[in-house]
Symmetry: C2
Subunit: 127 residues, 2 copies
């Protein structure tokens, strides 16, 4: 029986993308919400001025490749490079201040306890 699998570094663009590219790798439904694992690919994008992500669930983020600056509300921007990770608690506002425009930045995000839209139930969605 095959299992969901892939490579985070496969198919990276040689130039800039018009938008960040979000790809759900796997999703496991639980009664307390989904655990959703996602690749995010940035090629210079940043959150719009004044925009904050404000999520009701914990999010673990890891920079696999590239460079970025992430800001948590009330803090200076953090510069992140390969291997850097942080756990953003539910309710902690945050924004992407900058990503490297010269090469793709590959993130892994683990959303823990994300609300499950009716159509997204299930698991092992592959990409």
């Amino acid at each position: 029986m095959s299992v969901p699998a892939g490579n985070l570094l496969a198919g990276l663009p040689s130039g800039s993308l018009p938008d960040e590219l979000f790809t759900t790798l796997t999703e496991t439904a639980a009664s307390t919400g989904a655990v959703r694992i996602e690749r995010i690919l940035s090629t210079g994008q940043a959150s719009p001025e004044g925009f904050w992500y404000d999520q009701g669930w914990d999010e673990f983020v890891l920079v696999v490749q590239g460079a970025a600056r992430l800001q948590l509300d009330g803090e200076a921007e953090r510069t992140l490079g390969p291997g850097d990770w942080l756990m953003i608690p539910a309710g902690r506002r945050h924004r992407v201040a900058w990503t490297d425009p010269t090469a793709p930045t590959v993130w892994l995000a683990v959303h823990i306890g994300e609300p499950i839209p009716p159509k997204k139930m299930g698991r092992g969605q592959n990409a």
Copy 2:
């Protein structure tokens, strides 16, 4: 307020370790079990002959750096390098057949719905 954070590639050994090194990065308790995110550092270790991991919860694994071979029960060994990930479903036996003995292999593992021992409740355990 500071959040759990670190770098997966920090403090890598220059030589071999006597054993694999398992470090819990974060842990979030939920009524359905914990979501535990772990760094695993291998320097040539492999599962003993005939040994299989047999877990009652899903595990997402990613090779961040290095090289390894992983075997799922009933399959040939899979060779994994940087960026390779797979989702090992609950109940699917697996073993580490080989890790590169010449340089550290850094894994990220996300254990989804792992049973919570009484002493391990809580979250944000940092390392």
